[in-house]
């Protein structure tokens, strides 16, 4: 079998409780069209898209409704056919406001067929495929939402030799990627071949944590006839195996330099969901208008892996999963380690919504944070080898220069330190604030000079 064990151990990690059993064995189910879809223009990293439809327009499924605004941006498409009832500001997952297009579905789901299928992609040529990936509005579906076209066209001075497919899904509770690998292994491998030919690389590593044996098996079958250096890389189940820099290290032993990108060490990392979306866009001509989201948590009546149109409200998703059986006190968009807490259920899904997690009161205890007792546990847990304790003390004292020299910008906000801290210090909160202050300071220094 083409399987390797991870080459290198994480520098720091934690072992949270996973609770994947809630939704792991639930098939992906497509959710019927909701009454309303609110498609945000800020779905990806970079500049939000510009809406190109207005109130009253009739749109078709897959029709472009938002135009990429700049190099790092992505197009946005209508998730179904219907009438645009508003183009307005709406809440995003981070609590800010961004333009969104509100669509009232007509129930016909009439496709626009704007993108012709490219059945034989091997002869289609690199530019055609890249254009297709951009036209389909594909952005990283693992979390950050980096526009995929940009990732797949690295500058010539950065030779790429390894493509890594991220199926680690190290966040507790979430099982969307697991199900996608299980049910769409063959398509993922095809998507992988497409990206491989775009990048011109021979080596492919599909990274999966060893708590997903079925997914490992499915992917093994899918790659059985592949040629070249292709292998499943089995990672130990620990958090954060899915973090980009950590995964590159585990699978190849290469360290992305401080402040650098994966391409600096010849790697491109794509999430399994994104890989499927690439296949779907190229071979079927489907733009990215739906994704699998795990709706889970103990209060949810029927936790599921839901295939929902982008723009579905969290309330509709929850209703599709039978609602709540007991009070939830916290709603998290994403997983419990890095997800974003929501104040209400009005927010709608985007290309990056991997999960919607409901937590009951007993799992959300209130803490009073204490002074650091220098136990050093955060230092051991930090996968970036930072000194969270010292960083946090400096930031608390307002000393951002010291925080900068202690490499705060290398913090990946994985939350290992805060998870382990016995003094319940708000470490990640400190680091998010500290990072933005340091970045602001750097910008100001740049504009002055």
């Amino acid at each position: 079998m083409r399987t390797t064990q991870a080459l290198f151990k994480l520098r720091g990690s934690i072992h949270p409780e996973y609770f994947k059993g809630l939704a792991r064995d639930k098939d992906i189910v497509a959710m019927p069209l909701p009454k309303q879809l609110c498609v945000s223009m800020a779905q990806h990293l970079g500049a939000p898209a510009k809406p190109i439809v207005s109130k009253g327009d009739h749109v078709l499924k897959g029709q472009r409704i938002g135009e990429a605004a700049g190099f790092i941006s992505a197009h946005v498409h209508a998730p179904t056919s219907g009438t645009v009832t508003a183009v307005e500001d709406g809440p995003t997952v981070t609590g800010t406001l961004a333009l969104r297009v509100v669509i009232e579905p007509d129930g016909q789901d009439t496709p626009a067929n704007a993108l012709p299928p490219i059945k034989d992609w091997t002869t289609a040529g690199r530019d055609t495929i890249l254009a297709r990936i951009a036209d389909a509005g594909i952005a990283g579906m693992g979390g950050a939402g980096f526009p995929t076209r940009v990732k797949l066209s690295p500058p010539p001075d950065k030779p790429i030799d390894t493509l890594i497919i991220n199926g680690a899904e190290c966040e507790p509770y979430l099982t969307a990627d697991h199900r996608v690998m299980l049910e769409r292994a063959e398509q993922i491998w095809q998507g992988c071949e497409i990206m491989r030919s775009l990048l011109g690389v021979k080596t492919v590593r599909i990274a999966i944590e060893n708590n997903k044996p079925e997914a490992i098996k499915a992917m093994q079958t899918a790659i059985a006839k592949a040629d070249g250096d292709v292998a499943i890389c089995i990672l130990k189940t620990e958090y954060p195996q899915g973090a980009e820099k950590q995964q590159i290290f585990a699978t190849t032993g290469r360290e992305v330099p401080s402040g650098g990108l994966p391409m600096d060490v010849g790697c491109v990392v794509e999430n399994v969901g994104t890989t499927y979306a690439v296949w779907d866009a190229v071979v079927n001509g489907n733009p990215l208008i739906e994704r699998v989201t795990t709706v889970t948590g103990h209060p949810v009546a029927e936790p599921r892996n839901v295939l929902a149109r982008i723009g579905t409200s969290y309330a509709d998703l929850l209703a599709f999963c039978g609602g709540l059986t007991c009070d939830a006190v916290k709603i998290v968009s994403g997983g419990p380690m890095m997800g974003i807490a929501q104040s209400n259920l009005e927010t709608t899904t985007t290309k990056t919504t991997s999960g919607l997690l409901f937590l009951e009161a007993s799992r959300v205890p209130e803490y009073t944070s204490m002074p650091c007792i220098s136990c050093g546990r955060c230092v051991v847990a930090c996968p970036m080898d930072l000194l969270p304790a010292e960083l946090s003390n400096r930031i608390e004292a307002g000393d951002y220069d010291a925080a900068e020299s202690l490499n705060i910008l290398d913090c990946i906000e994985c939350g290992c330190c805060a998870f382990i801290c016995p003094a319940h210090r708000p470490l990640v909160q400190h680091f998010k604030m500290g990072k933005s202050r340091v970045i602001l300071k750097r910008r100001q220094a740049q504009t002055k000079s």
Partner: protein, 341 residues
């Protein structure tokens, strides 16, 4: 969905889950780990050990509560750190110390060594050790009036509070006197004395004598991951190496390694005092340096210093160096080794 009755959800920064560890739990573990040695001290020194332990724990908790109240803060005794300090202070006192003096120690430990600096987490020095050394300076006679363990009079009450014929010197004290007087080594060191020392049948501070009980407790702390091996092993290891060298160079004036291991406060210091999280370095590498430094200073003081025992001073000195050690042992971060190339 109960949105009518409960329209609000908690919003806070990630992570939304926690390991469940807490400062209180760590302190509770330390208290549990100290129990074998505390019970041993009761057995070995009788009523006086009970008295000192009670006075110190109540004194420390009381002082903590009072200080916090005076500063207008919440009581802050729920984290149990004052109980730990109280236990450790008691364990570092000779059995016949009058209760009033022990109480002075409590005030020094909590008010001066801890709360003045800002309370838990901010104290640069181990509070119990600061108190012990302050008491040693202030009441040199009372703090060096030793009694044998298992003294038949140990349950009789107040007899020891007056100087009487039952006082003895500690093993390290005997050796130090012999050294300064240039006399031959005063102790015979055979298997039966070694066993006595291991179990705690000797004179000394009430909590330091039973190496076995202390090791048991430390095992529990290691198991609970409240401490790691780094400081204890480097500390005890360094003392052992230097004691061995001294013994080889000059067997006439230096006791064997096992004597250094089992006498005085080495076990209590290396396992429970030097491992205090707040006052020891943050990183593993720093802890190795810290432990080695403690060991070196301990053996230097024992052999050449003015006091028979050097554990307290050694740890306090290394406490003072902890910020420097932290600075010098910062880890190279992920991705930085490549940046330089």
């Amino acid at each position: 969905m109960s949105n009518d009755t409960q329209p609000y959800f908690i919003v806070s920064t990630a992570p939304h889950t926690h390991s469940g560890s807490s400062v209180r739990r760590i302190m509770l573990d330390v208290i549990i780990a100290l129990m074998p040695a505390v019970l041993a001290s009761f057995y070995l020194f009788g009523w006086h050990a009970v008295r000192l332990t009670a006075v110190c724990v109540l004194g420390c908790v009381g002082t903590e509560a009072l200080c916090r109240r005076l500063m207008g803060r919440d009581l802050g005794i729920g984290d149990l750190s004052a109980v730990v300090t109280g236990l450790l202070l008691a364990m570092n006192l000779p059995p016949a110390l009058p209760s009033g003096m022990a109480l002075v120690g409590c005030v020094i430990a909590i008010a001066i060594a801890k709360q003045v600096f800002g309370g838990i987490g901010y104290n640069p020095f181990n509070p119990a050790l600061v108190a012990r050394v302050a008491l040693l300076m202030s009441f040199p006679v009372a703090m060096t009036r030793w009694h044998d363990a298992l003294n038949p009079a140990r349950w009789l009450g107040f007899a020891w509070t007056v100087p009487d014929a039952t006082t003895t010197a500690t093993p390290l004290g005997l050796v130090k006197t012999a050294l300064t007087m240039k006399q031959p080594l005063p102790l015979t060191w055979d298997n039966s004395t070694m066993l006595d020392y291991l179990l705690g049948n000797m004179s000394g501070c009430i909590g330091e004598v039973s190496a076995l009980a202390l090791l048991l407790g430390a095992g529990y702390l290691l198991f609970r991951r409240c401490i790691t091996w780094h400081i204890p092993v480097t500390y005890i290891g360094t003392v052992a190496i230097f004691a061995a060298i001294l013994r080889v160079v000059d067997p006439a004036t230096n006791m064997p390694v096992s004597f250094h291991m089992l006498s005085g406060g080495l076990m209590l210091g290396a396992l429970f005092m030097a491992t205090d999280m707040v006052t020891s370095p943050l990183t593993r590498r720093g802890q190795l340096v810290f432990g080695a430094g403690c060991g070196l200073l301990t053996i230097l003081i024992r052999r050449w210093g003015g006091y028979p025992e050097g554990v307290s001073f050694a740890i306090l000195l290394m406490n003072a160096l902890t910020p420097l050690i932290n600075q010098a042992t910062r880890p190279g971060i992920f991705g930085q080794s490549r940046k330089k190339k």
